[in-house]
Structure formats: structure tokens, C-alpha cells
């Protein structure tokens, strides 16, 4: 992390001390974007990095629950909104609309222009401070939210996007279109992750390909992207997410964690070599 990078980013307001910005995209819903975002964030913090997560899914904000931060009040400071930290060490900072809703069951029924405006504020007005990586979790699709994120990050830089898919064709079919979105908007594709890649029965160790097999790697080949790796379907990961527990801390020796950790290293290396 060179001083050069920091100097380039000066005059950037709240993003001036954020070294790298990575979008987590899919196109397809329910493939595990938020899960992957939180797990990559935890793996990166455990490896000594300061990480931020910006949750731009306004209709279905999943990040707060996954990291067990509840619904704290969001405070203002001179530079804008203070992000919510997951613990006292302040290595993982979050911002999500989930923090701004009085009632967690309240539906955010907004059309595009209003979503665009809030995302603009989220990108520019959160006082992130010094971060090694800011991960931007997104809703499925290629619409208002995605355009708003890119427009508001124009002054800074988007280092790239990680695409998440499940193995089936129904998923990779949408993710192909998301890769086109990246090409059209000049966002570098850092790679493709195949999530929910096989389930190993805890009783008999038989592997079942519940959501088919191999689509992620094929998609990477087809689009000339890096294949970052597979993350299996793991009920322990699902439970950790459900209960907002740190999977990396609870199951550091699991195959799942080593897959995620390896993917996070690959991503960090590719960020550092640009």
C-alpha cells in the first residue's frame, strides 16, 4: 500500500483514505453476494486489513444481520455519517439502509430516482476513514443502484468487481449479462466465484450437486475472466450467517473457510499488483 496511492486519492473527500474499492456483483439474486461479501471481509480483517462494507441493497439489506450488529443509531460527524463498527477494534466498518429503518419489517418501496439519491449519499457521505478495502455489496440486476454506485465512485476509482454465481445455467445466464455491464461501464472483472458449489452430506460424505456443477468455471472461460474458486454449500456457514456469528473464527479449519481465505488472498494480490 504505497503513499503514492494515497496522494492520488486526495481531494476525494470521504474516500480519500480508502485504498481499494471492490464491487460484489451478480445479476442473479440469491447466489450469496452478501454472504461472500461478509466472508471476504472477515477473512481480510483476520489477515490484518481494515475493511469497510457498503450495503447498497436498499430493498433487502442483509449485511447488518449477518454481522450481528443489530440496529444501532447512525451518528453524524463533521465529515458525514459515522459507519457502524462490528467491534471495538474498528477493523470492520459498515453502512446499510438497514441501520436507518425504524422498523426492520418496514418495506422500502422506492422507485429508481430515490434509490439513486440515497446511494449517492452512502458513497460520498460516510466517513470511512482509513481502509485497505471497501467492499460494495449490491442487489441483483443492472439498474439504478448499480449505475448510481458507479457514477458516485467516478471521482475515486473502482478497482474492480467480483462476480458471484451458483453453478447452474439459470444463474450464469444472468451473470453473463452482469459481465457485459462491467465491460460497458469500464469496471475491471477481478474474477468469478462459484458459490453453493456442491454439498457434502455430513452423515455419509456423499457429494450432491444440488445446484448443478461447473457453471462458474465455464462462465469464467467463456468471458475471459479469472476463475477465483468454488465455495461449497455448508450448513455451518448458513448457520453462522443466520446467527450473525464470525464463521472464520468458529471454523477456521473448514474446507469452506480455506476456500474463502484463498479467494480473498487472490483478490488482494490482484489489487496490489495494479
Amino acid at each position: 500500500m504505497s503513499v503514492q496511492n494515497l496522494e492520488e486519492n486526495n481531494g476525494d473527500g470521504n474516500l480519500s483514505q480508502v485504498r481499494h474499492v471492490v464491487l460484489i456483483l451478480s445479476g442473479k439474486g440469491g447466489v450469496g453476494k452478501s454472504t461472500i461479501t461478509t466472508q471476504l471481509a472477515l477473512a481480510l480483517t483476520h489477515a490484518g486489513n481494515k475493511v469497510g462494507i457498503l450495503d447498497t441493497d436498499l430493498c433487502g439489506p442483509s449485511i447488518p444481520r449477518m454481522l450481528s450488529v443489530g440496529r444501532p443509531d447512525v451518528h453524524q460527524c463533521d465529515s458525514g455519517w459515522v459507519p457502524v463498527y462490528t467491534d471495538s477494534r474498528k477493523n470492520l466498518a459498515l453502512m446499510s439502509i438497514g441501520f436507518l429503518l425504524a422498523d426492520p419489517d418496514e418495506a422500502v418501496v422506492w422507485r429508481g430516482p430515490k434509490k439513486t439519491a440515497l446511494i449517492g449519499q452512502f458513497v460520498s457521505d460516510v466517513a470511512w476513514g482509513e481502509l485497505d478495502v471497501l467492499l460494495v455489496d449490491t442487489p441483483p440486476g443492472t439498474s439504478d443502484e448499480h449505475l448510481a454506485i458507479l457514477e458516485n465512485l467516478k471521482k475515486h476509482r473502482v478497482d474492480g468487481a467480483v462476480l458471484v454465481t451458483t453453478p447452474q445455467a439459470v444463474s450464469t445466464g444472468d451473470v453473463r449479462r452482469e459481465i457485459t455491464f462491467c465491460k460497458k461501464t469500464g469496471v475491471r472483472v477481478l474474477g468469478v466465484i462459484e458459490n453453493m458449489s456442491g454439498f457434502v452430506c455430513p452423515h455419509c460424505s456423499e457429494c450432491s450437486n444440488i445446484f448443478s456443477k461447473g457453471g462458474g468455471e465455464e462462465l469464467a472461460k467463456l468471458t475471459g475472466s479469472v476463475f477465483l474458486g468454488c465455495v461449497p454449500l455448508d450448513p455451518q456457514l448458513s448457520s453462522s450467517i443466520e446467527e450473525g456469528k464470525d464463521f472464520a473464527e468458529l471454523f477456521p479449519d473448514s474446507t469452506t473457510f480455506s476456500a474463502i481465505s484463498s479467494i480473498s488472498h487472490t483478490i488482494l494480490n490482484s489489487l496490489q499488483t495494479t
Binding site: G27, K28, G29, G30, V31, S34, C59, G60, S62, R65, D105, E106, A107, V108, V109, W110, R111, G112, P113, K115, T116, P139, P140, G141, T142, S143, D144, L147, T166, Q168, A169, V170, G173, D174, R176, R177, E178, I179, T180, F181, K184, T185, F199, C201, P202, H203, C204, E206, S208, N209, I210, F211, S212, L233, P235, S238, S239, I241, E242, E243
Partner: protein
């Protein structure tokens, strides 16, 4: 007045918004005077046109979730197949997921194109009595991305409802994208002068899904859309080898069952995870035909029956209301 006019600037606030004609992005737009005059905020005549066009559709069902990837499109497609199993019924499936249209693949219709005729756009027929429409049929390549803001997506949905030659239908099923945004507001708005039987809400067992689904249920209540019931998908996995059940997506807060009890909604059924479902969808086949004896197929058939019963009762109630009014 159309939600989408020609030659609009990229950040058009929408012709019916408070900012129509007044926002800084409106400067220079050829429609600015029209919007600022308030003419665009008059009720959209398309609503009445759609009402007339769909008056011969006996039942309309929306498939909603709030959460992505829970199986809305899978459910919509198989509901359509199941209803079309009765050859005396005319069924249509409309896919309003503009950015991620999955229905063409799931229905085995990838590569099909839509044709125009004097009476409008012709939907694509899977069977003689099962018609499908999706933006997927308007895209020339599987790599094409639909990078549209809200107003343009709304315009497409309006065209789907007004300009497609659906003919006389027994059931129109509408598959939706996740969320509570433009597409959802538009479909409810444009169907505003028709009778919509209700919504089927799809979820998976985990709280991460349910927390989004509760918002969708609130949305339905806000817009007065009746809820036919809730389907819990991916509800446990039975290992084909040792037959033990694993809760891959754990119902840590009681699953759909508790949510339905809390919110006084019918739970229509719990569909287990079955790798053959994903395979059928990828191959564009109906798993109800491929593996009719599977536990998942049996649950589906029960759910479809419940929906049909609901719609028949709803029709009877509508009839009673009309009779009393006469």
C-alpha cells in the same frame, strides 16, 4: 401520459414524480414544458387500456418474494406447467424481471423471438395452451445486458400488459424480480383497474430470507394486494445415498411456518431441495413431468391445487359482489 417519453435525459425523474419538469436534469429536455405543466401527472390512460385488454383474463396471480434466488421463477414456471396440464385451460406466464429474465431458459424457449402482428405482439407458445412473454425474447444475444433505470423498465412492463396479444386466458401468472421497487409498483399500478386474485409469496427457511419476505408482505398490505399464501422452498435436503435430512438453509427463526402463524397467512407448502429441479430448469424441462413421483413434485401439486381452489372461491366472491350490485 406515458411514464417514459422520447428523448429523455439520463436522470429523468419520471413524468409522474414531484420533480417532473422542475429538476435540474430537466433543463434542455424537449418534454420539460409538458412535465412542468402537470399534464403528465394525470392518470395514465394505459391503466384503463390494460383493464380493457385483460378483462378476458379470468385469474391473475403475482409471484413475489422480496428475496432473490428463492425460486420465484422456478415456481412460476411450474405453476404454469401444472395449470396448463388441463388442456381446456388457457395459461400465460409473464416475466417482468427486466434485468435478469430467467423464464425463457426455464421454459426451454431460449433463442425464441417475439413477432408483431396486427393485434399486437405474439407471445411465445410452449404448448398450445401455454404462452410466455419475457424481455429475454427481445434480446439478440445471451450476453446482452439490460442496463435500464426505473422509468424505462416501467415502460416495458406497460407494453407487456397492453401490447401483447394474450387472447382469452384462464390464468395469467406474473413472475417478478426480487425487491419492492419500480417493477412491483408498476405491475400493481398497471393492473389497478383489473381484478388480481392475489400474490403467492416464495421464501426459503432462513431468517435472512424471511426478513426480506416480511417487507414484501408489508408491500402487499400497503398496496392492498391479497396474499394467496406462502411457499417455503429449499426446505431441507434428503441425501440420495444415506437418506438423512440436512437443513442446508436452516429455519433458525422458525421458518415460514412461524412467520405464517405470526402474520396469519396460509402456508401453502414446503418444497424440499432436489438436485433434479435445478437440472430440469437448466434444461428447460418441467420437473413435474420429468420426476412426477418425487417428494418435491408431490408438494408442488398440492400447492397448485390450493391456488386453484383459492382462485375459484375468489371468482365466486367476485360473482356474488357483482350480482348484489345489479
Amino acid at each position: 401520459m406515458a411514464e417514459v417519453l422520447d428523448n429523455v435525459p439520463e436522470h429523468c425523474p419520471g413524468t409522474t414524480s414531484e420533480q417532473a419538469g422542475k429538476s435540474s436534469t430537466c433543463q434542455g429536455c424537449p418534454n420539460q414544458t409538458l412535465c412542468a405543466s402537470g399534464a403528465t401527472k394525470a392518470p395514465d390512460p394505459a391503466i384503463a387500456e390494460i383493464g380493457a385488454k385483460l378483462s378476458s383474463v379470468k385469474h391473475k396471480i403475482l409471484v413475489l418474494s422480496g428475496k432473490g434466488g428463492v425460486g420465484k421463477s422456478t415456481f412460476s414456471a411450474h405453476l404454469a406447467h401444472a395449470l396448463a396440464g388441463d388442456s381446456t385451460k388457457e395459461i400465460a406466464l409473464l416475466d417482468i424481471d427486466i434485468c435478469g429474465p430467467s423464464i425463457p431458459r426455464i421454459m426451454g424457449l431460449e433463442g425464441e423471438q417475439v413477432h408483431q402482428s396486427g393485434s399486437g405482439w405474439s407471445p411465445v407458445y410452449v404448448e398450445d395452451n401455454l404462452a410466455v412473454m419475457s424481455i429475454g425474447f427481445l434480446l439478440s444475444s445471451p450476453d446482452d445486458a439490460v442496463i435500464w433505470r426505473g422509468p424505462k423498465k416501467n415502460g416495458m412492463i406497460k407494453q407487456f400488459l397492453r401490447d401483447v396479444d394474450w387472447g382469452e386466458l384462464d390464468y395469467l401468472i406474473v413472475d417478478t424480480p426480487p425487491g419492492t421497487s419500480d417493477e412491483h409498483l408498476s405491475i400493481v399500478q398497471y393492473l389497478g383497474s383489473t381484478h388480481v386474485d392475489g400474490a403467492v409469496i416464495i421464501t426459503t427457511p432462513q431468517e435472512v430470507s424471511l426478513q426480506d419476505v416480511r417487507k414484501e408482505i408489508r408491500f402487499c398490505q400497503k398496496v392492498k394486494l391479497p396474499i394467496i399464501g406462502v411457499v417455503e422452498n429449499m426446505s431441507g435436503f434428503v441425501c440420495p445415498k444415506c437418506k438423512n435430512t440436512s437443513q442446508i438453509f436452516p429455519p433458525s427463526s422458525g421458518g415460514a411456518e412461524k412467520m405464517c402463524a405470526d402474520l396469519n397467512l396460509p402456508l401453502l407448502g414446503k418444497v424440499p431441495l432436489d438436485p433434479r429441479i435445478a437440472r430440469s430448469c437448466d434444461e428447460g424441462k418441467s420437473f413435474l413431468s420429468e420426476v412426477p413421483d418425487s417428494p418435491a413434485a408431490k408438494v408442488y401439486q398440492k400447492i397448485v391445487q390450493s391456488i386453484q381452489d383459492y382462485c375459484s372461491n375468489s371468482a365466486t366472491q367476485q360473482q356474488d359482489i357483482t350480482t348484489r350490485q345489479e
